[in-house]
C-alpha cells in the first residue's frame, strides 16, 4: 500500500467490538485469549496464573502440588467414544498430567436441570467412576445443585483435581529450548469430529469415536525414566495448531513441524474435507505434545509407545531460535506456511 497513500478505507461495516459474550469466546481461540487477558488475568494477577499452564504448581508444607479445574458443558452429552462424565474425569486428570503431576484426588460438581433423567445421570456417574478407576484417582468431594427447568441444559459438570509433583523438572513453555524435538502422542481430530457429527446429526459411513482417555500413565512413565521433559500440553480446544502457537509465543521460539508426520485418520480427513475444517484445529481429548531434548526423543518415544493411549506417538517437528514466536508447517506438497491461532469457532463452509 506504500505507493498509494491517498487510498481511504471506508468499509460500511462497523469494527466488531463486542459487548457481549459470543460462542467464540469459549472456542479456545483468539477471542478467548482476549477475554482472559482483558478481564481475568489482570483481576487475579499472580505468577501462577500468568504462567498460563493447564494447572498451577506450588509448594505446601514441603510437598509440591498441582491444582487445576475445568467445567464441562459438552453437547451432545453422550457421543461415540465417551460422554460428559469421561471428559470431566479425563480432562482434569490430563490437565494435572500436563503439569507433570501424578493425579491423586478430584472434586465433582454437578449442576442438574429440573427434569433431567436419573438414568442419564447414572450413566454419566458410572462413566466417571470407570475413568477415575482407570486413571488411579479418587473423587473425594463434590457438590450438587439443581436449577429450574430451562435455566440449565440437562447437566453441567465441574471437576477440580490435585496431583503431586514428584520431580524437580520445571515443565512449561518457558522451559522449551531450541533443539527440542516436538513429540505427539497419536492422531488428531477424532474428538472434534465425533462431537460435531453427533451434534449436527451428520451421518458418515463409519462412526468416528472420540479419543477421550487419560494420558497420565505415559507422561509419568517418561518422567520416571528420567526424560528431561521441557513442556507438555494436551491438544484440547483449538487443537494442535493453537497449542503450538501458544507455546511458540510463550517461549519466544520457533516451532517447525511437518504435515506429513501428523497422523489424521482417514474418516476424520474425509469429514474435514466435506465440512471445510482443518484437522490441526480440531479438539482432542486424549492427545498431547511433549517437548523433549532432541537426543532423548527416541527413548521418550519408546516409552510412550508402550502405552495403548500413546502407542502411535511420533516426532512431528523441532524447535529453533528464529523466527521467534511463530510456528511453520511444511505442507505435503513441500511448501511452508505459517500456522496461526484459531479465530473463533470453525464454521462449516458453504460449498
Amino acid at each position: 500500500m506504500a505507493n498509494d497513500k491517498t487510498f481511504t478505507l471506508s468499509c460500511p461495516a462497523p469494527v466488531g467490538t463486542r459487548e457481549q459474550i459470543v460462542m467464540a469466546h469459549g472456542g479456545g481461540g483468539k477471542l478467548m485469549h482476549e477475554l482472559l487477558e482483558t478481564y481475568v488475568i489482570p483481576a487475579f494477577k499472580n505468577d501462577k496464573l500468568e504462567s498460563r499452564h493447564d494447572g498451577a504448581v506450588f509448594e505446601v508444607a514441603g510437598a509440591k502440588l498441582a491444582f487445576t479445574t475445568d467445567s464441562y458443558v459438552v453437547r451432545p452429552m453422550f457421543f461415540p467414544g465417551g460422554d460428559i462424565g469421561t471428559l470431566a474425569v479425563n480432562g482434569t486428570v490430563n490437565d494435572l498430567a500436563m503439569c507433570g503431576a501424578r493425579p491423586l484426588y478430584l472434586s465433582a460438581g454437578l449442576i442438574m436441570e429440573e427434569g433431567f433423567p436419573l438414568e442419564s445421570l447414572a450413566r454419566v456417574i458410572e462413566s466417571m467412576r470407570q475413568c477415575a478407576e482407570a486413571a488411579g484417582v479418587q473423587v473425594v468431594t463434590g457438590d450438587t445443585k439443581v436449577v429450574d427447568k430451562g435455566k440449565g441444559d440437562g447437566l453441567f459438570v465441574n471437576t477440580a483435581g490435585i496431583g503431586v509433583v514428584e520431580h524437580g523438572l520445571k515443565i512449561g513453555p518457558t522451559s522449551v529450548r531450541a533443539g527440542d524435538a516436538v513429540l505427539i502422542s497419536g492422531d488428531v481430530g477424532r474428538h472434534g469430529i465425533a462431537i460435531m457429527a453427533t451434534r449436527e446429526g451428520l451421518e458418515f459411513e463409519t462412526s468416528i469415536e472420540s479419543d477421550c482417555a487419560s494420558v497420565a500413565s505415559p507422561v509419568l512413565a517418561m518422567i520416571q525414566a528420567g526424560i528431561d521433559v521441557h513442556c507438555l500440553r494436551d491438544l484440547t480446544r483449538g487443537g494442535l495448531a493453537t497449542t503450538l502457537v501458544e507455546i511458540a509465543e510463550a517461549s519466544a521460539l520457533h516451532i517447525r513441524i511437518v504435515e506429513q508426520y501428523i497422523a489424521v485418520e482417514e474418516n476424520v480427513r474425509g469429514a474435514c474435507e466435506i465440512l471445510g475444517f482443518d484437522p490441526l484445529y480440531l479438539a482432542n481429548e486424549g492427545r498431547f505434545v511433549a517437548f523433549i531434548p532432541r537426543e532423548q526423543a527416541d527413548r521418550a518415544l519408546k516409552i510412550l509407545r508402550q502405552h495403548p493411549v500413546s502407542a502411535e506417538s511420533t516426532t512431528i517437528g523441532c524447535v529453533e531460535e528464529s523466527p521467534a514466536s511463530s510456528v511453520t508447517l511444511k505442507t505435503t506438497i513441500g511448501t511452508v506456511r505459517v500456522l496461526d491461532m484459531l479465530t473463533g469457532e470453525q464454521l462449516p463452509r458453504i460449498c
Binding site: E200, L202, V336, L347
Partner: protein, 370 residues
Amino acid sequence: MKFVDEYRDSEAVEKVAAAIRALVTRPWSIMEVCGGQTHAIMKFGIDELLPKQVTLLHGPGCPVCVTPVELIDKGTQIAAMPGVIFCSFGDMLRVPGTQHDLLRVKANGGDVRIVYSPMDALKIAKENPSKQVVFFAVGFETTAPANAMAVHQAKQQRIANFSVLVSHVLVPPALEAVLDSPDCLVNAFLAAGHVCTIMGYEEYFPIASKYRVPIVVTGFEPLDILQGVYMCVKQLEEGRFEVENQYARSVRREGNIAAQHLVAKVFRVVPRKWRGFGEIPQSGLGLHPDYSDLDAEERFGVSDYRAEEDPECMSGVILRGVKKPNECPAFGTRCTPEHPLGATMVSNEGACAAYYRYRRHEAKALISDK
C-alpha cells in the same frame, strides 16, 4: 485418501511447477475465480511454487464475500423476529451487516441455527410447525440445485412455515464485470470446477472469444490448480484463448442437466447487487413467480429495505483482483478475522481471511530469513 492424496503428491506437484517455469517467457496474471481455490492456494502455498512472472489474482468467487450488506441486514432483521428459526450455512454467521451479524442476533436470543444442507432447514420446518423457518439461500451455481430442491419440496409438501431468503449469484456475469472494469489486470481465468460440474462450461465460450481470454475449468487440489495454471500459461504463450477443462474427472461440457432443470424451474435470472461490484444485470437468481409465496423477503416485509455499500470499500478492489489483501492499510491491524471490516476477512474462502490465516506475506519473509 483416494482422490485427495494423489493430487497433493509433492513430486507430481513439482513436476507441473517445473513445466510452468520452463514454459513462461512473459509476465501473466491469472485469476482463480472460486474462493475454494483461493483457500487452497493459501493453505498449500501454491503461489510459492510459481515463477515470478505468474501472478495469481483472487477473484469474486466466495459467496459469503459477495453477498451485499443489504442482504445480511435483511437476514439479521428476520432472524431477530419472534417465532423465527433462521437457518444458515456456518460461515455467513460472522459476516457484518451495517449494524451487526447473525452471531450477535443469536447471542441476543435469536434462534439462529447452522445447517449443512437446505434439506435440514426443511426438516426443522416440519418439526416446528408453530415457527417460521427461514433458510438463507446464498451461493453460486453450486449450491443452487440443493436450495432449489428444498424450495420445490416445500411447495410440493405444502410446508407453509418454510421460506427462503435468496441471494444466489452467477459466475459468468461476474467474469464479464471483472473484464469490463477499466483497471482489469486479468490475462486468463481458472474457472470454478464445482460451478461447472453443475452448469457445464458452454456458457464460457462467448466470454473467451469476446474478451480474447483463456478460461480453464479447474479443480481444487494443489495439482489441479497447478495444471490449470499450466494450461492457462500455455494458451497465453501460444496466443490462444480457448475454454479448456482441467477438471474432467468431475466436469462434463453440458454439466448436470437434471440439476439445471430444477434450478430453472424454481429460480429465474435476475439482476443482483454484489459486494464490491454494485448491481450486475442478470447476475443472480431469484425465486420464480411460481414459488414467490416462499420468498422470505415478502413474507417478513423486508423487500423494500435498502443499504448501500460504500463505493470506496476496499473489498471491491480485492474482489476484482486489482489489489492484494495485504496492500490494504487496515489489513491485519484494524481488520482481522475476529474484528472484520468487510466480508472478505470473514469467510474461510475470502481472500483477506486466507491471507491473514496463512500469513503468506509474513511466511515469505520468515522463509527468506532462513
